[in-house]
Symmetry: C2
Subunit: 215 residues, 2 copies
């Protein structure tokens, strides 16, 4: 059955998914350079960057690759798509990823500003959803056609879907990095009360991978 | 040089060092049964429980054993010593550990209620400190006589020492468990701003061990 899944979402030891002072030059915020090191070392990332010959095998790669398996659509918060808040000009920002984004399926972007769908090379089409997270999920699920929907982030978007009870599974990678401040994934959220428990725990030298599933 | 160190302090994936509704029957609070599983499997713990033949070797044991090396004194928050808040009757609570506690050095207990020192079997003497964390540290450091002082917890006590800038090093074990609510070790504390960075990261099947040191 189609599920809503967070995959390969990386947090710091102190629970932050993004640092302070996010900007165009530093979209994840301060002190986050090391946060995604586990992912940058994988075949999956290197393939996204155009060089499949690089990257190593192992549990980090397994998790990275599984993040793209059986995914029929994505949902992204506004900041994951770009630093521009809209209203959108015609020749507006087309995302962080150039002409051929790595999604290759429909991507539903949460925003307050309407915009026509944006068809990119390689199968990705960005749809801009202005009527809230439940609507975005309904549209993404329909587009996914029986496959899973991946919730890409950021932190605020994941927290909104968790609070709404719509997330079925989360794979988180905890990196051996302190951020100290920024957007906390867990603060004020009682995940066991929301039905989650830890069903997977795969530690590697680069990160601790955990899988949290709803009972 | 003598340092103030947190060792083998265990937190959940969502950053809690203790759960809700702590009680005499359940001193760590709800949902914490699995929190210390990594520690219960070690020789060090089994030796404390009187059966050195049990327990396994490996990085978990290494961390557990190092928690008792070169320690000249301990500091404990009131709740780590016991559920009784005082004032103390003469025949009062003597701690959770029976007649021969595993510390075997002077232990300084933070409390608001004066009490005469309590000399136990095996080298442990409990001293009750009523004039604050800096005084407890000064007394513990003097008693440690050049060795390190171990800060045993709980969460509120560690946070108070962190805020005061007195902690030099923390070994934390992150267990693959969600608590959802309770006492958060990190909430509102900016550890990098306090001078900490992650200098050690040893993942095992039971926990992710991290060492945070001040620059």
């Amino acid at each position: 059955m189609s599920e809503l899944k967070v995959k390969s979402f990386t947090i710091s030891l102190d629970g932050f998914g993004a640092g302070m002072h996010q900007s165009l030059e530093n979209p994840m915020g301060e002190r986050t350079q090391a946060l995604h090191q586990w992912f940058r070392g994988t075949h999956t990332f290197q393939r996204m960057m155009g060089d499949e010959s690089k990257g190593v095998d192992g549990p980090d790669e397994d998790f990275a690759a599984r993040g793209f398996e059986n995914i029929g659509a994505w949902i992204l918060g506004r900041n994951m798509f770009g630093p521009i808040r809209g209203p959108w000009p015609d020749d507006a920002w087309k995302g962080w990823w150039g002409e051929e984004p790595p999604y290759r399926v429909p991507v539903f972007v949460l925003t307050h500003h309407p915009r026509a769908p944006l068809e990119m090379k390689g199968g990705t089409t960005f749809y801009f959803v202005t009527d809230g997270i439940a609507s975005a999920y309904a549209q993404a699920r329909r587009a996914a056609n029986g496959k899973d929907v991946r919730l890409g982030g950021g932190v605020a978007t994941i927290r909104a879907y968790l609070r709404a009870g719509l997330v079925d599974e989360m794979h988180l990678a905890i990196s051996p990095v302190l951020l100290g401040a920024g957007e906390s994934l867990f603060a004020g959220l009682d995940l066991p009360a929301l039905g989650f428990r830890c069903t997977g725990h795969v530690p590697t030298q680069s990160a601790t991978h955990i899988v949290l599933r709803k009972d």
